[in-house]
């Protein structure tokens, strides 16, 4: 399992050695990774990374060394703005900082054993500011074994397989292919985490609910892919593409109904209501989504209206139903609902950004091609520089070259960074919504899920 997150650093001096070892250790503990590797990467050309001893005089030596290697008052071609193209108004004269960075590493790996960073007695990890003070970000990825998560995930996977195994082949085979092709299993995880808040958590009943919620999600994907004419999903042909539209409609219907039945058979009226209301919200948003394509690409308000239904409703219901099944107190359930709504919205925004990457698992520019509401496109469409070009392109039939051009314009507009930041803000708000709630050891899981939902590449 791999999970990602960001570490924000506010530097205070032009050259500064910031010992980030305690914060990296805290991130490892928060993730509950027991064994694996922590990858750290600077996202800046004038900030490097270093592993060495945290001794103040030695750090002074390093600073002197960097000053000798690339003096701050030296002459650098990079600082001759008259010879450079497209120099921003706020461009600093920082050739020395870039040259110093050559002698540092932009990325490093630290091994993790038994939940601890594997560092020697005198080793510390430094982020080295070379052109401060600035707001900086380090990207982290943790790749390894995560305590507790594996056992819970295995139980849900077993239950999913068990629920599918008894179904007629005509519906089972295409659904099993979709489910086994992967997926992040965010909703089952939310059910499982939510169940930790109640006094009557039962692992088997929780797994049954979690698997049923995942089947609802999968059923929506089967119908979505038909509506959007998507050729692939999770790197494989969609059910509609492979089996035909008639089969796809039947498969989606079958699993909507089956999941509803399995949940009703759990015998908890509150859980049944929670899921039923979420399903209705999803379907209403799907209808709205198609209707809004007439005013494509839409605006922030219509985007949120659709996302709250299409994505956030089921995530919130997953949290809430897990807690309700375990008998959690209503105030805690309400906070969980808020967490799920914020997480779901953040998740969809991150998904919109991922659609512009090569690693999305979907055909490049799919959202644009299918005229799906997408926040980066909405922001770029509103941009005074690239907006007019995007509007011209969207007014006509889009061929592959047009889709690529729109994607390039969106990327150049800064909209992806803006949406990414908005998503991270929502993820932070989701974690904040749970403050003060007794989470019975699930805090790290909720925290981790919120961060990994927005800092991902696929």
């Amino acid at each position: 399992m791999i999970t990602g997150r960001r570490l924000d650093i506010a530097t205070t001096r032009a050259t500064e050695f910031i010992d980030v070892t305690p914060r990296l250790q805290a991130e490892v503990e928060r993730s509950r990774m027991s064994n694996g590797r922590l990858f750290v990467q600077s996202l800046h050309t004038t900030m490097g990374l270093l592993v060495n001893e945290n001794e103040p005089l030695l750090l002074g030596d390093f600073e002197s060394l960097l000053e000798r290697v690339a003096p701050g008052g030296g002459v650098y071609l990079h600082d001759d703005f008259s010879r450079r193209a497209a120099v921003p108004d706020d461009e600093p004269a920082n050739g020395h900082a870039h040259c110093r960075q050559v002698f540092l590493s932009p990325a490093l790996t630290v091994l993790v054993e038994d939940g601890r960073l594997l560092l020697g007695r005198w080793q510390a990890v430094f982020a080295v500011e070379l052109d401060g003070p600035r707001q900086r970000t380090l990207a982290l990825q943790l790749d390894g074994e995560f305590a507790g998560a594996a056992a819970r995930r295995d139980l849900v996977e077993l239950e999913l397989a068990r629920q599918l195994a008894v179904d007629p082949e005509a519906v089972q085979v295409p659904m099993r292919r979709l489910v086994e092709a992967g997926g992040k299993r965010v909703r089952p995880l939310l059910v499982t985490l939510g169940s930790r808040l109640g006094p009557r958590a039962d692992a088997l009943r929780t797994a049954t609910l979690a698997a049923a919620v995942e089947l609802i999600h999968a059923a929506t994907l089967v119908h979505d892919d038909y509506v959007d004419e998507s050729p692939t999903r999770r790197g494989q042909p969609t059910v509609a593409a492979q089996e035909g539209a008639g089969r796809a409609i039947a498969v989606g219907d079958y699993y909507f109904a089956k999941a509803t039945r399995v949940i009703a058979e759990l015998g908890d009226a509150a859980v049944t209501s929670t899921i039923a209301e979420a399903m209705e919200a999803i379907c209403r948003a799907e209808v709205d989504d198609v209707a809004l394509r007439g005013s494509y690409p839409g605006d922030h308000g219509s985007y949120l209206q659709v996302v709250r239904g299409k994505t956030a409703a089921l995530m919130a219901a997953a949290c809430v139903s897990g807690a309700q099944l375990a008998g959690a107190a209503p105030p805690a359930v309400d906070r969980l609902r808020r967490y799920g709504e914020l997480l779901g919205t953040a998740f969809q925004m991150a998904d919109d950004v991922v659609d512009y990457s090569e690693t999305s698992g979907k055909p490049a520019g799919q959202d644009i091609r299918q005229r799906t509401l997408s926040l980066p496109l909405i922001y770029a469409h509103e941009d005074h520089e690239v907006g007019p070009q995007i509007r011209d392109l969207l007014n006509g039939e889009l061929n592959d070259a047009d889709v690529s051009r729109v994607a390039e314009l969106v990327k150049s507009s800064g909209a992806l960074a803006r949406v990414g930041e908005e998503a991270r803000g929502l993820a932070r708000a989701a974690v904040h919504a749970l403050e003060g709630v007794e989470l019975n050891g699930a805090a790290a899981g909720f925290d981790e899920l919120a961060h990994s939902a927005v800092d991902r590449v696929s």
Partner: protein
């Protein structure tokens, strides 16, 4: 005529257009089979949803598929509101039956018979 006294406004939200396109007739067909108006509307919505989606009959265009999904989801919510777990299970089984039949290419059982049978229990 639409029986506004027996159906809450929100239960027909986004579905007004299909009332005269089959939902109203379906409602009439179930109204004497259960005393709870929410259950009657749920049965009508399941039947209309299945028909909109063309299970076993034709391939529904995307718009009708989504409206059908909304009908089925609203029916499920109405049954949850009515608090009738047995009917929730029975109606779901009816949809599972016709969906599985449609997927395998078999003749699809009449959904009205399945639902009336569930209401009779």
């Amino acid at each position: 005529m639409k029986p506004t006294l027996e159906i809450a406004e929100r239960d027909l939200e986004s579905l007004d257009a299909i009332w005269s396109g089959g939902l109203g007739e379906a409602w009439e067909a179930y109204r004497d089979h259960h005393p709870d108006g929410r259950v009657v509307l749920a049965a009508a919505l399941v039947e209309t949803g299945v028909q909109l989606q063309g299970l076993g009959a034709h391939i529904a265009p995307p718009g009708e598929l989504l409206l059908g999904d909304l009908c089925l989801a609203r029916a499920s919510r109405l049954l949850a509101d009515a608090g009738d777990r047995d009917l929730q299970v029975a109606f779901a089984r009816a949809v599972e039956t016709v969906a599985a039949e449609a997927a395998t290419g078999e003749a699809v059982s009449p959904i009205r018979d399945l639902l009336r049978s569930a209401l009779a229990k």
